[in-house]
């Protein structure tokens, strides 16, 4: 009896101590922590926020998306000086985790009014949380943007996102290495993967440089090839199409040919990928236009680069010299409390401002998906690093040709499966039987 009482007493003392000590130490810290971090202060900030004069924006990449948001905020504030705009840098995965937990718990405290969402993930959010996103049809009509971007931000004809950066694919290449290999810039135009491999072999032989990098854990190359033929892992209705998908099959075959030809340098992560072209180990980088700033980091290679359209697949009649990878759009969370202000902000900046797109072209090498941006002054300026080429004009032109596909809800889940499948096929497995094996798994993943 007695021991029980002692134990009970001890336990309750423990709890009391925990709570007491917690209160005791927390309180003074809050005051010492400065105005911004105190509990009561954040309370009053919320109140100010509901006064409809502040906006919070979440995005990733300080050097790119955040800069863009800041420029937009500057433009908006020039007209509306009393609006406070709070821009928060956060890793993309972190944004995903926070949105998922908060939206599924219905807790809006601390959530942003405007959030950047990657195109591949957009449909997933819009389907799971349709009622959380504001209807932006009026401020961002689909016809104002590159057509391939507006397939991902709509559900049942309602536009929920303002398309932002272009992921238009391009072949960045070293003019000096290509010429040493006996080819000209002319050969790089209207390129096919077959020709690409031919040039690659010459480059490898004459200069020692690899033609491009491949990362076995990231099959973005296959995604780009596939989209160039107008197909995806899923069809227009969102059903998994792994088997009997000619575009996918052709893409995997080109990929295997690339690996087998010995002209690719294998890398295992992003750092090595960037390192390979910064240190001059590869002659081309076929990927999204957003890689341009990373290429330009190697100042000693200035003037040696040029950009051509993305290669098409010769075997596939549907394949064109244009594709896309990555890219995102701005979405408004309507239940956070500033829906109208957020819409007004987007309509005056990302959804319409050619002036903004013009400054972003030089500040962050942004290729806008706003059709009107093609008229921006900076789009017709030559870029010294790329030998004076008017790269924006080219990007904007290729962008118009990117085939529009339905990314579906599960791009990343399917991609995990396909990464395995592709490795098996590259390793020698039969392509048709492997793809039909994975079809069943893909259907299961989509059904989830």
């Amino acid at each position: 009896m007695k021991t029980k009482r002692v134990l009970a007493l001890g336990l309750s003392a423990m709890m009391a101590m925990g709570l007491m000590a917690c209160g005791g130490t927390e309180a003074p810290e809050d005051t010492a922590g400065g105005a911004a971090s105190t509990q009561s202060d954040s309370g009053s900030k919320d109140e100010a926020a509901s006064g409809d004069n502040s906006l919070t924006i979440w995005a990733w990449d300080e050097a790119f998306n955040i800069k863009a948001a800041q420029n937009a905020a500057d433009i908006y504030k020039a007209e509306n000086p009393d609006v406070e705009i709070n821009i928060v840098t956060m890793a993309q995965d972190d944004i995903v985790a926070k949105l998922n937990t908060s939206l599924s718990a219905g807790s809006y405290e601390g959530l942003p009014d405007i959030v950047l969402i990657e195109d591949y993930k957009a449909q997933g959010y819009l389907t799971s949380y349709t009622s959380e996103f504001a209807d932006l049809t009026e401020i961002a009509p689909a016809e104002n943007f590159a057509s391939y971007k507006t397939a991902v931000n709509q559900v049942d004809g309602v536009v929920y996102g303002v398309p932002f950066d272009s992921g238009v694919a391009a072949t960045f290449y070293r003019t000096d290495l290509i010429e040493q290999a006996g080819y000209t810039q002319e050969d790089m135009q209207d390129l096919t993967w077959e020709k690409f491999i031919e040039i690659g072999k010459a480059v490898k032989e004459k200069t020692g440089a690899y033609m491009m990098t491949l990362d076995p854990s990231d099959i973005g190359q296959i995604r780009m090839m596939m989209q160039s033929a107008g197909v995806w892992y899923t069809d227009a209705e969102g059903n998994a199409t792994i088997a009997d998908n000619q575009g996918l099959k052709d893409a995997i075959e080109v990929y295997k040919a690339l690996v087998d030809s010995g002209i690719t340098k294998q890398v295992s992560d992003w750092d090595q990928f960037v390192g390979a072209f910064n240190s001059g180990e590869v002659a081309t980088v076929p990927t999204g236009c957003w890689i341009a700033p990373s290429i330009q980091k190697a100042e000693d290679q200035s003037g040696k680069w040029a950009v051509a359209a993305f290669p098409r697949m010769e075997a596939n009649a549907d394949s064109v010299n244009a594709s896309s990878i990555g890219g995102g759009g701005w979405y408004v969370l309507k239940n956070v409390g500033h829906e109208e202000l957020a819409k007004d902000f987007l309509s005056k900046t990302f959804a319409s401002s050619v002036e903004l797109m013009n400054t972003l072209a030089t500040d962050i090498t942004l290729v806008s998906t706003l059709n009107a941006a093609a008229e921006a002054e900076n789009y017709t300026k030559g870029n010294e690093f790329f030998g004076g080429q008017e790269i924006f004009k080219d990007f904007a032109a290729w962008q118009q040709n990117v085939p529009s596909v339905n990314y579906g809800l599960n791009t990343y889940a399917l991609e995990d499966l396909m990464t395995e499948a592709v490795q098996a096929i590259v390793g020698g497995a039969d392509i048709d039987s492997t793809l039909s094996d994975y079809q069943a798994q893909a259907e299961a993943a989509v059904a989830q």
Partner: protein, 281 residues
């Protein structure tokens, strides 16, 4: 002490040297990278550069409030560690010193909680903590407060288990003697037990501080406003760029590693003694 022992020794040293190089290399590379330009790091430079001040300047000028995050991490880690020491050691002590029929059952229940992965508890916890903000008096530990991160780390199954195991080696005679001399139960705990178990506390401090300092998942979802973010969250935000500034990132990583490294080296001796569990009463 023949030739054979000499050879055995030599082999041992070679193996140890290789292992040391493998484990120290990332730190070495981190320090080197801190002094180089981002583009040189991706090229694989292994020599110290002259870019450190520039990296530091970029870091401090960045929109990500690095110093603020450092401060947040420090507040959370220190408060968590102090409270965890008090609460968990008292629990571990009680589980050994006070007898009761329910004791083992309660303890097993606590151990069982170690088996549940955090990811499984995350959603329920999140919902629970989001309710706290509307209950007066509990706002201190509601979502988006330092308290929400502190409170779930102060009574962990591991720490209670750790203190209970070590308390078993604590001489009961000391408690008996103190009781006879008229010292109260609380006094025995604070004035006899705590000083004797110094090395155990040291080990627990190092582990708890490090866990709190490195904790990522819960602070990520619990701390919503940007001015409350801790270091791992800031580092994660820094890494997710199309064109990361590795030099700046490495500078941030080195600075964030310092507190745990210093704490460990200061307490190294006690830490080892505490982990091996010898109490010299």
């Amino acid at each position: 002490m023949s030739k054979r022992t000499k050879i055995a020794n030599a082999v041992q040293y070679v193996v140890l040297t290789v292992l040391t190089i493998i484990s120290v290399f990332p730190f070495f590379w981190m320090l080197i990278a801190m002094t180089n330009k981002s583009v040189d790091i991706t090229k694989g430079t292994l020599l110290p550069g002259t870019y450190f001040l520039e990296n530091l300047k970029n870091l401090l000028a960045s929109d990500l409030d690095f110093l603020g995050a450092f401060k947040n991490s420090l507040i959370v880690a220190v408060v968590t560690t102090v409270l965890a020491m008090l609460v968990s050691s008292a629990a571990g002590y009680a589980f050994v010193v006070y007898r009761s029929k329910a004791r083992e059952r309660v303890f097993n229940l606590i151990l069982l909680s170690m088996m549940v992965p955090f990811a499984a508890m995350m959603m329920p916890l999140f919902r629970m903590f989001s309710k706290f903000n509307s209950i007066p008096g509990l706002k201190l530990i509601g979502l988006n407060s330092y308290g929400s991160v502190v409170i779930i780390a102060i009574a962990t199954a591991f720490l209670i288990f750790f203190f209970r195991q070590n308390t078993k080696t604590f001489p009961k005679e000391l408690i008996e003697a103190a009781r006879i001399d008229g010292l109260g139960e609380f006094g025995i705990f604070t004035r006899i037990y705590m000083p004797t178990m110094k090395s155990v506390y040291a080990a627990a401090v190092v582990v708890t501080f490090m866990n709190s300092w490195n904790n990522y998942l819960w602070p990520l979802i619990a701390l919503q406003s940007e001015d409350k973010r801790t270091l791992p969250l800031i580092l994660s935000a820094m890494g997710s760029s199309y064109t990361p500034d590795y030099g700046m990132m490495m500078t941030a990583v080195v600075i964030s590693t310092l507190p745990t490294a210093i704490l460990f080296f200061v307490m190294q001796k006690q830490f080892v003694a505490g982990m091996t569990g010898s109490v010299k009463g």
